[in-house]
């Protein structure tokens, strides 16, 4: 029997320093519009969007500029009023040159978004609802950027029992979801009302980590007045609680089997920011044209939570925050655990950018790595119950075929193992590298 003060969480995981104190109480600021915007066509997982504008076209803020390129794909809208300068290749955060729509803002035009009459979402059939969310350009805004509408497709024999709203924000430094929950709790609850009704969910649970007390209070107050049953679950602070499967484990004590989706256990998981954006779309016709992100880290002059139009170059966002300190060594897009370091500051903010963190020489790990001492800390850390040190050993030896026997494909690259390793072995990166080699080999086999 669980003790009285028992707090829900999942098994395994790690406790990195939170570093959230610098930004968690700062209200969301809006970044002024800049001159030019870069909008990659592939900001989400799946097929890239297909442009519907051509150079020199005039666009309004919120106007559709690229339509979905397939089912697992989503729409893209102009974040500013201005004109299209070119369709060209630009560098994205992964370092690849990818096709983008380049926009220039009109400095004399109003950037006011013209709201549309609310959609009668209750009258929509489930297919129309899915199409609508696809045209809103909604993706999972926790970082993975998976097109949200795909999760809303009803599947035969798999009814949705619970809607799980992810407000964990377990990554250190990031506070953008926290601020969204505090400042826009009405939007979150409104989004829950729409989505829970359309999916036919019995109950909605908002999972929030205990370090966000004010968010829990505000959400509880807002949930009390909601027309659908909403419960706020306070969860123990632990990384990676915000991972879909870990969150389900923490809230419901249900395990999502390997290779299966939350829908297989009757659940749909969405990030709080995504839910708020969904409410904006159905109430005001406002598509996903900006997002809230956290700029933080020891090398940032003025940390902040910002509402940034999509496509704003990282350089402009950092300049708004007073620029980088001279001893800056590394700028990371996303959280420190799963984010990716940038090779250029001219990459744009995209739908999945949850944070921009800058670190100095002192913060970046440069130390030596030692041999594995088989202490087993990575096994205790891995939330997926894998054997990370074995996988790292196989990856290093180049035996990537044998890695499948140790379930390498279940790794979510949360980085808990690397964080826990006393020998400083980049376990997560080794597994990622091996997985990339595996993918390349498969691509070659398909070609032959």
């Amino acid at each position: 029997m669980a003790p009285e003060n028992w707090i829900s969480t999942f098994r395994h995981g790690v406790h990195p320093d939170e570093h959230k104190e610098g930004t968690e109480s700062l209200p969301i600021e809006r970044v002024p519009f800049v001159e030019s915007y870069i909008l990659p066509l592939g900001q989400h997982i799946g097929a890239p969007s297909v442009p519907v504008v051509k150079p020199k076209d005039r666009v309004q803020r919120g106007q559709l500029i690229a339509k979905p390129g397939g089912f697992v794909s989503t729409a893209l809208h102009s974040p500013v009023t201005g004109h299209v300068t070119a369709l060209a290749n630009r560098r994205n955060a992964m370092g690849d040159l990818v096709p983008c729509i380049l926009l220039e803002a009109d400095p004399y035009a109003t950037q006011r978004f013209e709201p549309r009459a609310p959609v009668d979402w209750r009258a929509l059939s489930s297919k129309e609802f899915v199409d609508q969310t696809q045209m809103a350009g909604l993706v999972g805004m926790g970082g993975a950027a998976f097109p949200s509408h795909v999760k809303y497709v009803p599947q035969e024999g798999k009814p949705v029992r619970f809607l799980v709203v992810n407000g964990c924000e377990c990554e250190p430094y990031l506070t953008c979801d926290h601020r969204v929950m505090v400042e826009r709790s009405d939007r979150v609850v409104r989004g829950i009302e729409i989505l829970a009704t359309k999916l036919g969910a019995e109950k909605t649970v908002i999972g929030v980590e205990q370090n966000k007390e004010d968010a829990i209070e505000v959400l509880q107050a807002a949930a009390a007045g909601a027309p659908v049953p909403v419960e706020v679950a306070a969860l123990k602070v632990k990384y990676p609680q915000g991972s879909e499967k870990m969150l389900i484990d923490a809230v419901f004590k249900t395990e999502v089997p390997a290779g299966k989706l939350p829908l297989d256990v009757g659940m749909v998981v969405n990030n709080v920011a995504t839910i708020a954006a969904l409410a904006d779309w159905f109430d005001h016709g406002r598509p996903l044209i900006d997002r809230v992100l956290t700029v933080s880290g020891p090398a940032v002059s003025r940390p902040a939570n910002l509402q940034v139009p999509l496509g704003t170059p990282v350089r402009a966002v950092l300049e708004y925050c007073g620029g980088l300190k001279s001893e800056t060594r590394q700028v990371v897009m996303g959280g420190p655990m799963m984010g990716s370091p940038l090779s250029s500051l001219d990459v744009p903010v995209v739908k999945g950018t949850s944070g921009l963190l800058a670190f100095t020489d002192a913060d970046v790990f440069d130390g030596d790595t030692y041999t594995c001492v088989k202490c087993g800390r990575c096994l205790d850390a891995c939330p997926n119950f894998l054997n990370p040190c074995m996988l790292a050993k196989l990856a290093r030896a180049g035996r990537i075929e044998s890695m499948d026997e140790f379930y390498a494909s279940d790794c979510t690259f949360c980085g808990s193992c690397s964080w826990a390793c006393p020998s400083g072995i980049p376990i997560s990166q080794l597994i990622k590298v091996a997985r990339s080699a595996m993918a390349q080999r498969k691509r070659k086999e398909v070609r032959q």
Partner: protein
Amino acid sequence: MENILSSAGIMAGLGLLFGTVLALAYRFLRVPEDPRLEVIIDMLPGNNCGACGQPGCSAFAETLLDGGNLPSGCTVSNPEKIDEIAGFLGVDAGEQVKRVARLHCAGGLAQAKQVAAYSGFESCRAAAVTSGGGKGCSWGCLGLADCVRVCTFDALHMNTNGLPTVTTQKCTACGDCVEACPKDLFELLPMDQPLLVQCSIPLGGEEARALCTVACDACERCARYARPGLIEMKNNLPVIDYVHYEGPECPEATFRCPTGAIQWVVEDQFEDSEPANRGGHVERL
């Protein structure tokens, strides 16, 4: 006493029985093995590199005996050994053009634009998954020597310009480096056609030139000046038809290349410590 005798007797009887079965099986079920097989295996290099397309030297020797391959199918062995095998078997040695691994990139430290510094463990593949490494060009050589580490014939080393150099004499065209390169830059090419495109950028014009001084900017001059049927432009890059083109070696394609992306390479690809040639200079003609 009786027990001991009877058990010994049973054992001896069983031994005799099985011995007879084995002797009969050897007499009637024997598959004669060609005595030449062992000799040929001894004559082959014994690297088991797989460059001939067989899983190893003994499998290759078997195909030699049944005529599936000619001795020159082994590209690792030297010509004298090949002739010796051909003489032993009484077959034609055949003609096999030596193939070597060639790198489709010449953007070393001196040519390609660097936009950031990668720090992490030394591996091209690791750099490639970490925001694509520090190079401006997303398709070029990352210079962290994954290919050098997998080469078991000591045919690869990094030159001072940060590019892997293939020592053609040692290269056996086993294809390990082709597998290892995360950017798919290596290709096994015949040495009798020295034309080589040393770039993989699928961009054209200014975009390509901004990334690297020896980039192919897709001006198509090489395709126009080359003999018909030799070069075709595909995806903003010249593609040389090594298989179907049967004409003489022809260096015209390199004459008018403005960046030096297409080169006439007879021996090793890069002179050590020298940056790649620029401006269509033709060497050893």
